[in-house]
């Protein structure tokens, strides 16, 4: 694996020297999904920005089967892969936003949809990772695409952990009912004790029906970085250069996407930015 030698090497590469191929991406994310306003957010809950309208790539599609999205899949940042056998490094990321919260930038490794909120049977997920296949650090999230029911219940996932052990079960997480049923809601599922990642998810099971089918899915993701938008009209810089040599390496084909832990009920508009260089 190549390494950036020092700050001078990095400066040279981020200004185009030594095949650094700098790439500075800006993506305006509007609080609308196609022709409709996005569902109001819920304070203290995660909202997926996957399907929000964007100035770059457009709106992410709702998956109907387990798929491993990549850097050409709309909904993500659509950064290019490094060339010439080089690695791609994230130098920093930031945003300015109209609503406060905490923004998570992540690699969307696998997603699935078409699961329902009114079944207590084990619902099959499946699929195969194409990045970070060992599973270390991967997280399992539920992502709601169409409103599910008003009855609160819990959900668990059966998965294979980072050691390749199948039949592991997440801790139950609340799903359904106000705050846990709306479109774009994302619900992280804590892993079974002792586990540090996931290679795959075999199925999910609701403890009881939420009463309405709706449509939800499972997303396996690997967090890249998180930062705080302290108030409306503010934003952040998440600088990795000052923390050399701790630059995040971006895997070839990474599907970089964003979710936001909202601090208000106003669906956010924001300008997301990310800077990369190759080495």
């Amino acid at each position: 694996m190549a390494a950036i030698n020092d700050l001078s090497d990095l400066i040279n590469r981020m200004t185009g020297g030594n095949s650094g191929t700098p790439e500075n991406i800006f993506q305006w994310i509007d609080n609308r999904i196609d022709s409709a306003a996005a569902t109001a957010t819920v304070a203290g809950k995660w909202t997926s920005l996957w399907r929000y309208n964007k100035s770059r790539g457009g709106s992410g599609a709702v998956p109907s089967s387990p798929v491993a999205p990549d850097n050409t899949t709309r909904g993500g940042l659509l950064q290019t892969d490094a060339g010439g056998g080089r690695d791609k490094w994230l130098l920093g990321q930031g945003c300015i936003a109209a609503s406060p919260g905490a923004l998570l930038l992540y690699d969307r490794l696998l997603h699935d949809g078409g699961l329902v909120g009114n079944s207590t049977s084990a619902q099959t997920v499946g699929g195969t990772l194409t990045r970070n296949t060992g599973g270390e650090g991967n997280q399992i999230w539920v992502e709601i695409y169409t409103l599910i029911g008003t009855t609160a219940t819990t959900i668990t996932a059966s998965y294979t952990n980072q050691a390749g052990t199948s039949g592991r079960t997440t801790k139950p997480v609340a799903i359904g009912g106000t705050g846990n049923r709306e479109a774009e809601r994302m619900l992280p599922l804590p892993l079974q004790d002792g586990d540090t990642g996931a290679q795959s998810v075999q199925s999910v099971t609701l403890a009881a029906s939420t009463v309405t089918a709706g449509n939800f899915g499972v997303t396996i993701l690997k967090p890249i970085g998180i930062a705080i938008i302290s108030a409306s009209g503010t934003g952040y810089w998440r600088d990795y250069v000052a923390g050399l040599p701790g630059l995040p390496k971006i895997d070839p084909g990474a599907c970089l996407a964003a979710a936001i832990l909202m601090n208000s009920t106003t669906a956010p508009q924001l300008m997301l930015a990310a800077g990369f260089a190759e080495c």
Binding site: N12, G17, N53, R56, L78, G233, T234, V241, M271, A273
Partner: protein, 276 residues
């Protein structure tokens, strides 16, 4: 064009260069919405009518002395000192204003082609990463509607249709509002805009236009305590967001603002460019 060889080269270049000071007066428009400093004094940009490409000599552009035209080498934004005098939470964005036009109406539901298509890009001509906005010059009506644009994308494919954006009504009808467009799925940029269509009238014609621009840098959190100016010195190489943007020849630089108040304050500062 060249690259900066190392950190010493940055220091040398900044040391032998000079600051580009700038000031833009406050603007009043809508809270929690992007707004344009284009028509703010001093050196206020004019309200465009016919489609025109913007450059470093266009009135309204930042960094006027010396002008950023006929550059022989590469220039990178490496340091900035900025303050925003306001009582609100405020962030800024630096963009290269590529092309603009005006004279569109908020009271028409016809496909509007007045002063369109937009002028051909003279920078970032492939359109990759180029964004479009509807920039309001005179207040539109109080009825909220949506607008779409028909455009040619970064691959040269015409007839692409944007996602609808809200225009008109409170927060989206005031002068200096800068309504950024979401593109049709799979597109990553724009070469030109051919027409604009409103779904319904906003009930007042006003005056708005299409602006094509390329974002260069975001500057978050320039005022975050009420009644205080927050001066900042920024190093885009260390402590920035990892972006050391190149300011290409003839760039027409301008600021956008985002505030939780209807007023974006006086923006004052200086930018330092390193020559490679």
């Amino acid at each position: 064009m060249g690259a900066l060889a190392d950190f010493q080269a940055v220091k040398n270049s900044v040391a032998r260069g000079r600051a580009y000071p700038f000031t833009k007066n406050s603007i009043t428009t809508a809270a929690n919405r992007p707004m344009s400093y284009w028509t703010a004094l001093p050196n206020a940009g004019a309200t465009p009518s016919a489609a025109a490409a913007c450059n470093a000599n266009t009135t309204g552009a930042l960094l006027q002395e010396p002008k950023l035209s006929s550059l022989a080498n590469s220039y990178f934004l490496t340091q900035a000192e900025i303050s925003v005098a306001t009582t609100a939470f405020t962030s800024l964005m630096l963009v290269d204003r590529l092309s603009h036009q005006g004279g569109l109406s908020g009271a028409s539901t016809a496909t509007q082609t007045t002063n369109l298509p937009t002028a051909a890009l003279t920078r970032y001509t492939d359109g990759v990463g180029v964004m479009a906005a509807l920039e309001i010059y005179s207040a539109l009506g109080s009825t909220a509607s949506t607008a779409t644009i028909s455009y040619t994308n970064q691959a040269g494919v015409s007839g692409r249709t944007s996602k609808p954006v809200v225009i008109g009504g409170a927060s989206d009808n005031t002068s200096s509002r800068f309504i950024i467009i979401s593109l049709q799925d799979d597109d990553t940029g724009i070469r030109s805009v051919e027409s604009v269509t409103l779904a319904a009238t906003t009930a007042s014609a006003g005056n708005f236009g299409v602006t094509l621009f390329k974002p260069l840098m975001i500057f978050p959190n320039f005022s975050y305590v009420a009644d205080q100016v927050q001066p900042r010195t920024l190093n885009t190489l260390i402590g920035g967001f990892g972006c050391c943007p190149e300011i290409i020849d003839d760039a027409c630089l301008q600021l956008l603002g985002l505030s939780n108040s209807t007023v974006v304050g006086v923006a004052t500062g200086a930018m330092y460019l390193a020559e490679a």
